[in-house]
């Protein structure tokens, strides 16, 4: 019989990992989900956030300063990528994919040049061991999970309840019409990239004390982010958050009963079935969102 403490640990760990996953994917949910721009540098921007955090701690600056610097610098870089490269292609999908893939490689090599080939790590600024009944958990990781969830909900509210969301959608769906209505679409795209870059840069810095910092860490972040965004329903910030948390929880619970790799395969298979079923449902008008 399954010990209760194992179930408790799986739930806590699943919720924490899921929340962090959703937070990392949030920027992609805006750029890809709402603005329909396939930004393959998303994972590398995450890596840069973590790298900035490492550099600042190495320079004897407090970790908290990285939480300010990383979103500013990475957000600025995302804006520059949009202004100087993607905007010139009119965000046309084919060219955007090629351009961002090239940038992905450049940023990855930049990471290799600065971090070196070996993994790096920094100490959490605080890390009390939290005792639950029957198991213990990292205090900083728990904090990062809760912070991620709060940040996700705030961004969701911000995008859905303010003018930002409709403006981003309008600029993506019919740029000519939006501009004829007086919307400066270039500025809207700039805001979208700034927001997405800042969020993923922040996520990189936030997770850097409990994940190893490595020049290749962006690959996994990109893959997971795409899975979460697609699973949550493209264009739905709330869906992305739910998908991230749900996926984390499902994977954690499945690992209690199944071999780890089988658990992962099962989780992703269920996610795929859900996406296909939702697509079929929406075609038949059964499933609306």
């Amino acid at each position: 019989m399954l010990p209760l403490e194992h179930l408790g640990l799986a739930v806590v760990d699943g919720l924490v990992n899921g929340s962090v996953m959703a937070f990392i994917a949030l920027g992609l949910a805006i750029v890809f989900g709402i603005m329909n721009v396939v930004n393959l540098t998303h994972g590398e921007l995450y890596m840069l956030g973590a790298m900035i955090s490492w550099l600042m701690v190495q320079a004897a600056l407090p970790y908290a300063s990285a939480l300010v610097a990383a979103p500013l610098l990475v957000g600025g870089l995302a804006v520059a990528i949009n202004m100087f490269i993607l905007q010139r292609f009119g965000h046309e999908p084919g060219q955007t994919v090629l351009a961002t893939f090239g940038l992905l490689l450049i940023l990855q090599q930049l990471g290799l040049a600065i971090l070196g080939p070996a993994p790096r790590s920094i100490s959490p600024p605080f890390n009390p061991i939290i005792e639950f009944s029957g198991f213990s958990y990292s205090g900083f990781k728990l904090f990062a999970g809760l912070f991620s969830l709060m940040a996700c909900l705030l961004v969701w509210l911000g995008v859905e309840r303010s003018r930002i969301g409709p403006l981003l959608r309008a600029a993506q769906e019919n740029r000519l019409m939006a501009e004829s209505l007086g919307i400066d679409t270039s500025k809207v795209f700039l805001i979208g990239f700034a927001l997405a870059g800042s969020l993923v840069g922040f996520a990189g810095a936030l997770t850097s004390p409990f994940r190893q910092i490595h020049f290749l860490m962006g690959f996994d972040a990109l893959a997971v982010s795409f899975v979460v965004v697609v699973l949550g329903g493209v264009g739905r910030i709330g869906g992305t958050i739910a998908a991230g948390v749900g996926l984390g929880l499902l994977e954690s619970l499945a690992a209690l009963f199944l071999a780890p790799t089988v658990a992962r395969v099962l989780t992703l298979t269920l996610a795929l079935i859900y996406v296909v079923a939702r697509r079929l449902g929406s075609i038949r008008g059964v499933w609306r969102y």
Partner: protein, 438 residues
């Protein structure tokens, strides 16, 4: 070659030459001088060089190893050229990045043979790259020397043109250390390993060794590749085990941190393979939990772990300090337990070329080279084999050697045991010598 003739005349001349050339070689290497085209001292310039192609993981996931493999290859070639080259000919190293990619690895092999017409290929570390490259080397009829630890060479997954003489393989390593683990740490073992070929080699070898020594692997926990969070798998670790055996699960700093939180102080003995923390400083935040735990090392990271004149010369030649870090950048820790394989492999090529009379990339010369290499059975410890003597099995194309077990004490690795070569022997029916060469 008889092992009992301990340090052969070959090595004696090597030591004398080293005295004269050692510092120059190191200085030349550290100053970044071009070493490939440098003719051996006392030889006529313009003598046709022996060209050795080098498939190197400069980028991709293998980059931490690739950096050091390339440094060691350059240092070894520099030293070889200082002591007269190979059969009196200078050695030219032609290195190409394989991006730690199997597809690119096979392309690199093609380019090295077809564009550069290299005589031999110094191969890769990562198993998937070796598995993709070895068959192409066989098709192109060019000797390919893996420095990989994988079982693909000894278990017959490649071909007669592929060798692994400079580094021991996973089954040999595990077989050697398993006896010590079971006798000293306990017989109830759980293991955590990556869920791909490298991890499966560990799983299979340790399971076999457990059967032999009356131990029990009570839980096997394979970790999916690319995992970045491990706590969810720790609930599978039984509480009543003596030893938790762990190897290369990927995001090692996260793994150790989370393991520390989960197990706390009331933990079983931990035995790991250095692969997990190769090129990672033990002072890295999060690794404090490793204090008092054990690791396999092929060649001790800290100089006092195996302090011989040969090991010192090698360490000096490749620019590594007493604690296993780069002399010019102490924050950069070396891949010390793997990179010596590059050094030793290059000297095996030298020995085999000189004994076989190899001269040109022709059928007859390659036949003589390969048969000579297959007939070798010992590589004596010395400047050319600083990690220790090795038994070479010509049928398996694989070397067997000594292994080290170290404990983390005061934040450094301290050697507690060195295994005998015989401890690593295992049976396998593979026999490459039965395969036709052409």
């Amino acid at each position: 070659m008889d092992r009992r003739r301990a340090l052969s005349s070959l090595l004696k001349t090597g030591i004398i030459a080293a005295g004269a050339a050692g510092l120059g070689a190191v200085a030349g290497y550290l100053s970044g001088s071009s070493i490939g085209a440098q003719p051996p001292q006392g030889r006529e310039p313009g003598v046709k060089p022996i060209k050795i192609g080098f498939q190197v993981h400069r980028t991709g996931i293998g980059a931490p190893y690739g950096f050091w493999y390339e440094r060691v290859a350059n240092a070894a070639v520099s030293y070889i050229n200082k002591i007269g080259g190979i059969a009196g000919r200078p050695v030219e190293l032609i290195a190409e990045d394989d991006e730690t990619s199997p597809a690119k690895g096979a392309q690199v092999v093609e380019r090295l043979v077809l564009a550069h017409n290299v005589d031999f290929i110094l191969g890769a570390l990562f198993s998937d790259v070796v598995l993709a490259s070895g068959p192409r080397a066989g098709e192109l009829k060019r000797p390919y020397f893996a420095v990989s630890e994988g079982t693909h060479v000894p278990f017959g997954k490649l071909n007669r043109w592929c060798f692994q003489p400079g580094i021991t393989d996973v089954p040999g390593q595990v077989t050697a250390v398993a006896k010590w683990i079971f006798e000293n740490l306990g017989k109830r073992v759980a293991m955590i390993y990556p869920d791909y070929a490298f991890g499966h080699d560990h799983r299979d070898a340790l399971t076999k060794a457990a059967e032999r020594y009356g131990a029990r692997i009570v839980e096997k926990i394979p970790i999916p590749p690319g995992e970045t969070s491990f706590t969810k798998y720790f609930t599978r670790i039984p509480r009543d085990i003596d030893v938790l055996y762990h190897v290369m699960v990927g995001d090692v700093l996260t793994f150790i941190r989370e393991l520390g939180v989960y197990l706390g102080r009331d933990r079983p003995e931990l035995f790991g393979f250095i692969d997990s923390i190769e090129a990672v400083p033990l002072s890295a935040p999060g690794l404090e939990y490793l204090e008092g735990t054990y690791f396999w090392e092929a060649f001790p990271r800290y100089a006092d772990g195996y302090d011989t004149p040969y090991a010192r010369f090698y360490r000096e030649s490749v620019g590594v300090d007493e604690s296993g870090a780069d002399k010019s950048d102490p924050s950069r820790v070396s891949a010390f337990s793997h990179m010596f394989g590059v050094w030793e492999t290059l000297f095996v090529i030298k020995e085999a070329v000189e004994q076989s009379g190899y001269s040109e990339p022709t059928r007859s010369d390659y036949e003589a080279f390969i048969k000579t290499l297959e007939s070798m059975d010992w590589f004596n410890e010395g400047l050319w084999h600083p990690q220790g003597d090795k038994r070479f099995n010509g049928k398996l194309h694989q070397s067997f050697g000594h292994q080290f077990i170290s404990v983390v004490r005061n934040g450094r690795l301290v050697v507690v045991h060195r295994t005998e070569i015989e401890d690593s022997f295992y049976e396998h029916p593979n026999d490459y010598t039965k395969q036709p060469l052409f």
